[in-house]
């Protein structure tokens, strides 16, 4: 097959660094007829809320929406595992015709006494948006009947993309947060909320341990391994640090507005970002002991992982990476992280990146690198080949595409196998990159007995 053509309407969503000045078109809807890699509002909301481990997550809609999201994220938890079950109202034809409110009420009446959750999320799906069920009313009534929060999540899929879902989720989280406990005057405490880590492969645990080591308490993680109790108390913090800005900036903004909690954008991906983040936190608290402990941790951890990083760097030097991930924050960090292991990013794209993020990416990549928004597989294929990428970083749907092209692959999404945050994560990342790039299986790809090419 020849190189697929690029749809005219898509051309503005693809820019090359260094060629004529052009602004990338992003934050728009996908073209009809595209093989878009994008997900929906419900998906976004579910991703953010799913790690709330003791909540009952009820999907109000036909069965599919629930089936596809049953335990798809590797969000680890310590103890409560109600969130790993899949609950659906399984709407049928008569519910579509006569409305699904009755069925939702019946489902809540059955499930709440059975599972006794401290909190229920009710997700709206596309169909529910169209048939016009009054989720608010049903949830409110159930909430009164059972004395627990039953929260509607307005996540009908067609009202936007994944980011709209993040917003819907943040709205709900904010509603759960109670005003802070009054503090004794002059008490000094170093207590923060960590926003935008879903504890994939246990990443939030690593960060929590770092923060504890430098004398900072983690009040609650949004939402990796979180519980209702912790979320309620989120206002009792002096700082919000946000990692996955795409999903959590909005919540941080609301917390700042309502309770005056300042916020700091951070990244724990890669050695430099991790160190810089720890220092920024220390600077914020402006306390000598925290600074000292942060420096000590940075020195100790860097020294521990440096030999491994350098070993990988020497082997990976000069290789080229392509990146296609969900949000802009991760894309930015990855450019830096690849540089730490001697690799250059030659193609970078996201599903839902924002304009500022694309500008940042543009400033980080080398001349000639291609930057794309909401790419389809044909474009990914074309640019990976044109740019000579040796490796693709992406999600589930990109993996087999890369493999078919004989390009190595690392999952930086739900299917990641190891924690990729912090110092330990930086080594895992380098190791994963190396193990896929260095695998002998690629040698077999070129062969073929028929033409005697073995």
């Amino acid at each position: 097959m020849g190189v697929p053509s690029i749809l005219e309407n898509r051309q503005q969503s693809i820019v090359f660094k260094g060629r004529k000045k052009q602004e990338i078109r992003c934050e728009t809807d996908s073209e009809a007829g595209c093989v878009s890699q994008r997900a929906c509002v419900y998906c976004g909301a579910r991703v953010v809320l799913n790690p709330v481990a003791d909540a009952l997550h009820l999907v109000h809609g036909p069965i599919g929406c629930a089936s596809y999201t049953w335990d798809i994220r590797g969000s680890l938890n310590s103890g409560a595992d109600l969130y790993r079950n899949s609950f659906s109202t399984d709407l049928k034809e008569q519910d579509i015709i006569f409305g699904g409110e009755k069925k939702l009420t019946a489902a809540l009446d059955e499930l709440i006494p059975q599972f006794q959750p401290p909190l229920v999320f009710v997700y709206s799906t596309c169909v529910v948006g169209v048939i016009g069920d009054d989720l608010d009313a049903v949830c409110k009534a159930a909430s009164l009947r059972y004395g627990i929060p039953v929260k509607p999540v307005q996540s009908s899929g067609f009202i936007g993309s994944k980011s709209a879902g993040y917003r819907a989720a943040c709205d709900v989280l904010f509603q759960l947060i109670e005003p802070p406990q009054p503090l004794e005057k002059d008490t000094k405490r170093f207590r923060l909320n960590y926003l935008g880590d879903f504890n994939l492969a246990g990443e939030a645990w690593i960060i929590r341990s770092y923060l504890e080591r430098i004398g900072v308490t983690v009040n609650v993680v949004f939402t990796g391994d979180s519980r209702y109790e912790q979320i309620r108390g989120a206002a009792n913090a002096d700082l919000n640090i946000i990692q996955c800005a795409g999903s959590m900036h909005y919540l941080a903004g609301k917390l700042q507005e309502a309770y005056g909690i300042p916020c700091l954008s951070v990244s724990f991906l890669g050695l430099d970002d991790t160190a810089e983040t720890l220092r920024a936190i220390a600077r914020h608290f402006n306390d000598p002991s925290i600074s000292e402990q942060a420096e000590a941790l940075i020195a100790e951890e860097s020294a521990r992982v440096m030999p491994a990083i350098l070993k990988y760097k020497s082997r990976l030097q000069g290789k080229k990476a392509a990146v296609y991930v969900g949000g802009g924050f991760k894309a930015i960090s990855l450019i830096k992280q690849f540089r730490e292991i001697g690799m250059e990013v030659v193609m970078i794209g996201t599903q839902t990146g924002r304009k500022e993020e694309y500008e940042k990416m543009d400033s980080l990549v080398n001349e000639g690198a291609v930057i794309l928004d909401d790419a389809n597989p044909a474009e990914l294929e074309r640019f990976m080949l044109e740019q000579g990428a040796d490796l693709l970083v992406g999600g589930v749907k990109e993996r087999p595409l890369a493999y078919k092209l004989g390009v190595a692959f690392v999952d930086h999404n739900h299917d990641r196998k190891h924690p990729l945050s912090g110092y330990a994560g930086a080594v895992n990342f380098a190791a994963e990159v190396y193990s896929t790039l260095g695998s002998p299986v690629w040698q077999a790809v070129q062969g073929g007995v028929r033409h005697g090419r073995v």
Partner: protein, 462 residues
């Protein structure tokens, strides 16, 4: 794991699902459409559904799964999705250049009430290209229904009867099974030297070989001329009532091709029935090759029967596969005491006995009383198992939660299998597939026995 599942069974009347054993129609339609050569499935609805369906199929097959979407936005939900679909049709042929575009609906476009055939008629379809559709509202049936509907659409749109006399050829509708199984069905039919058309045929599409380049449309799949000719074949064999019989019956009505519905050929009995049906209709000898395979299977069954006898089994998944598997378990002397499917039973087509009736009949003929349920969920299955424990669990990947919670040996079978590879390449159908199943089952049971054996009971030879 799944600590929340209580042992005590309570009546459930709300109709909600806890840990579903089914998913929605469009994914089945998408899978069926992939079984046509150079066909791009198209999801008429929001992009999210399409993304999920592709992701799920990709995880199961570990191959790229291509499908386009109408990308509904708020406007579409108010004014209908006609404009989106027309733009989509134009764009798809312009960029992705398939020969055929298979449109299926989603809950959303169904609820809005889009008249898809009319929209297709009004759309600009390039010369020589084809667009067809199936309605797949997910609030009815399951992914199996969706597979059935899309397969039926292939008949309604394409099958023609052009000849005065039927040709010596068989149409085989395989049902929602893996490409490895489809290959095996083709191999068996070819070994009997009977001309055939298998449709849909996803072999060579979602198990395509690595060549170092990405093929948007791999070599596999039934072709359009082949689909047309299905109307001239003398027999259609529908393997599996739920996934295949609707299309076969439609073809019978439309082109007078006799339809025979058989079980999915899993296990010795169902494979025998398949082979005998072919032999009977085409008056051919069963080749030595198959005789030999059958003999080997029987040999293996006798060699191993003492491992299996009386072992209690829970089996769940898609109705055609579960019914056939139940039959095979009975042939091995095992006791399938919990049998469950998520797909609602019996509502498809006319005159079909429900899943529950079919399975119960098999069980009672074997003198076994067990729990049988259609439209069930894994919460129910888990509760059954808590009340009446089993020695083995068979089902798709989601069974691993129960297997872990209850510490039961587990054999992965059906769709989806998201946590193991190779399963989609090798068959479970036919005599050789049955051998493979025995290997899987005895492997699971005996590994467990070895693991748990005290040193003094640990045996080298088993």
């Amino acid at each position: 794991m799944l600590d929340a599942t209580p042992k005590k069974l309570a009546e459930r009347t709300s109709g909600s699902m806890i840990n579903p054993a089914k998913t929605c129609q469009p994914i089945g339609a998408m899978y069926a459409a992939l079984g046509i050569h150079r066909c791009l499935p198209h999801s008429h609805g929001s992009q999210g559904c399409c993304s999920y369906h592709r992701m799920h199929l990709t995880r199961h097959f570990r191959d790229p799964v291509m499908a386009s979407t109408s990308s509904f936005t708020e406007g579409a939900s108010v004014f209908g999705g006609g404009a989106n679909l027309k733009t989509a049709i134009k764009n798809v042929f312009e960029i992705y250049d398939p020969d055929i575009m298979a449109v299926h609906t989603t809950c959303l476009s169904e609820t809005i009430g889009d008249d898809v055939p009319t929209i297709i008629r009004q759309a600009e379809v390039p010369e020589g290209k084809v667009v067809f559709h199936a309605n797949t509202p997910s609030y009815q049936g399951s992914h199996i229904t969706g597979f059935s509907n899309m397969t039926k659409a292939m008949v309604t749109y394409f099958a023609e009867s052009q000849l005065a006399e039927k040709e010596e050829r068989v149409n085989i509708i395989p049902g929602f099974i893996n490409p490895g199984d489809m290959r095996e069905i083709k191999r068996i039919t070819a070994a009997m030297q009977i001309p055939f058309t298998l449709f849909p045929d996803t072999s060579g599409v979602v198990d395509s070989p690595m060549t170092g380049s990405f093929q948007m449309y791999p070599r596999g799949g039934v072709t359009l001329p082949e689909l047309k000719k299905t109307g001239d074949a003398k027999l259609t064999i529908a393997l599996g009532r739920f996934a295949s019989s609707d299309a076969a019956e439609t073809l019978e009505k439309k082109c007078k091709v006799r339809a025979a519905t058989l079980r999915t050929p899993i296990g010795i009995k169902a494979t025998d029935a398949f082979v005998m049906a072919l032999r009977g209709a085409f008056a051919v000898e069963v080749p030595r090759e198959l005789e030999e395979e059958r003999g080997q299977l029987v040999d293996i069954m006798t060699d191993t029967h003492f491992h299996f006898h009386g072992k209690r089994v829970a089996v769940f998944g898609d109705p055609d596969i579960v019914a056939a598997m139940t039959e095979f378990l009975l042939s091995l002397g095992m006791k399938p005491i919990h049998v469950l499917t998520g797909t609602p039973g019996g509502a498809l087509g006319s005159g079909m006995a429900g899943f529950e009736g079919e399975v119960k009949e098999m069980l009672s003929a074997a003198g076994i009383s067990g729990n049988v349920k259609s439209a069930g969920d894994l919460f129910t299955l888990h509760q059954w198992i808590k009340n009446e424990p089993v020695d083995l669990l068979i089902g798709n990947t989601y069974g691993k939660f129960i297997a872990k919670a209850e510490d039961i040996p587990f054999v992965r079978l059906g769709f989806p299998v998201l946590d193991r590879s190779v399963h989609s390449y090798l068959p479970v159908v036919g005599y050789r597939g049955a051998m493979r199943l025995i290997e899987m089952i005895s492997g699971a049971l005996l590994d467990r026995q070895d693991r748990d054996a005290a040193d003094e009971d640990f045996e080298l030879v088993m």
